[in-house]
């Protein structure tokens, strides 16, 4: 069982490298079209986004199917999102700009869409750095808080993608729809959990209602007792 699990894990690990291999083959055979630098750069960014979405899909999948032990896969996919994002950034700095920092500086300052890319990358970088198990243990509750920022990274990445287009919306809207669905799913789970807890532990209002019931029944019993006494008295008189 353990052996099979490891086998699947290594297989996934290898499969996630196929996009990179594919890209290297296309580069080697000059298959990237008339603007190969941009094509390479964009394809790396696309794969980073796709892995980010896959990472986000793991927890809902686990909730729906009640499969266990997918945390390792979530971590791996997240690291691949970081891996492709890093290659995307390196392609921009090295291949497109050949490290001419003066031009890079102006490009980043003047291009608002890049600001969102930088924000997304900083978040993903900090998540990757705190990815190991020992970091998770050491950070305790803060780990979960920090890693919730993945949604901010996803949002920033969509804006980054959308804002560099002249106005063609189809693909970024598709990605936005997916992130909304995934986020919506989590909100639903959260709301459902909250409602359950509310039913089990009485809140302030519930206590009042219960108290009222108690008092009312006490008053009714009192009245019944009085009525009975009055009845007894009248019977005694006659």
């Amino acid at each position: 069982m353990t052996f099979r699990f490891n086998n699947l894990y290594s297989l996934t690990l290898a499969v996630c490298l196929i996009p990179l291999l594919w890209l290297l083959i296309d580069t080697a055979f000059d298959n990237l079209g008339p603007n190969p630098i941009q094509a390479l750069h964009i394809r790396l960014g696309d794969w980073s986004l796709r892995f980010l979405w896959l990472t986000l899909a793991i927890t809902p999948l686990q909730t729906v199917t009640s499969w266990r032990g997918m945390t390792e896969y979530r971590q791996m996919l997240g690291m691949y999102a970081f891996f492709y994002a890093t290659l995307h950034v390196l392609a921009y700095l090295l291949m497109d700009h050949a490290l001419v920092w003066s031009v890079i500086g102006i490009d980043i300052i003047e291009s608002q869409y890049i600001w969102f890319g930088v924000l997304a990358y900083i978040i993903i970088l900090s998540l990757a750095l705190t990815s190991p198990k020992w970091a998770k243990k050491r950070m305790g509750k803060n780990w979960k808080k920090l890693h919730r920022y993945i949604y901010l990274a996803a949002g920033a990445a969509i804006i980054h993608y959308y804002w560099q287009l002249k106005g063609n919306l189809a693909e970024p809207l598709f990605y936005l729809l997916i992130v909304c669905l995934l986020l919506g799913f989590r909100v639903l789970v959260w709301v459902k959990n909250r409602r359950l807890t509310r039913l089990m532990i009485p809140t302030g209002k519930m206590v009042l209602v219960l108290a009222e019931k108690q008092v009312m029944s006490e008053i009714i019993r009192e009245q019944q007792r009085e009525n009975a006494e009055r009845l007894d008295k009248s019977q005694a008189l006659t």
């Binding site: 008339p34 190969p36 090295l94 291949m95 490009d107």
Partner: protein
Amino acid sequence: MIIKTTKDIPASEITDPSIFSKRRQIIKATLGTILTGGFVSSTLANSTLPLWGNLPKSPVSNDSLTVTPAEITKNHTNYYEFSFNKKEATSLAQNLVTDPWSVEISGEVEKPGSYHLEDILGQQTLQEYVYRLRCVEAWSMVVPWVGFPLASLLKMVKPLSTAHFVKFTAVYQPQTMPKQLANAMLEWPYVEGLRIDEAMHPLTILAVGMYGESLPKQNGAPLRLVVPWKYGFKSIKAIVKIELIKRAPISTWNKFAPNDYGFYSNVNPAVAHPRWSQNSERQLGSSFFTPRRQTELFNGYGSQVASLYSGMDLRHFF
């Protein structure tokens, strides 16, 4: 008015004549294959006769530029009427019907009318114009256009003194143009405009060919505008109507996003697009790890056209 044309040519920038003639041979060889029923690629299938092999260079042509390989120019062009994807647009554009073609010239002119393209060409002298084309998407290429000055066509129809602007309208052919049929994104047909002095400037041409061949359909066949000091989207493709008018026309991109795309749209590295920088550009055909090119004011044609905008705040009139 003295019009400075070209800068001195650095020897390193001159294209080797052997490479130049070889390119022609390659094109001819490919054409031969097509004629004998061999391999036909979607882009090459369109490069038909006539050939303008030895056209004289226009005095305003910029010979110091290294010409971008034709295969890049033929496969890297925006044509939103067909698709928002360059590759798909190139193959779909082959469906465009370009024959017969006539151009309606109307408005504030003495001799309005509808002119057959052949009749227009019969009265014009074709020359080669090597220009840099800078796209608003921050890439650039150097294209050897075949064409004639727009001014010489406009002079034929005799503009009135009330003609202050020129409005260009591209073809409306929804049966071949999927995005027109779907009414997608922009308002169709595509419309562009120039001020009359911009239109009459000797750098402004109407092109019917490139690389010594007739224009491929994806590159604007059969007749397109080329205004080298403005972003590429000003150089409207497949023109069917030219109107000389009193007031500034509203161009398609300007209408779609007025804050992003102005009427003038002169190439200017100091004025960024609201969402991205225009400071540098990727020269197509350059290899990996090559730095981007520093974008020049008016795309390098400042000495010829800056006087058109003297006293104007270029940040305001972007």
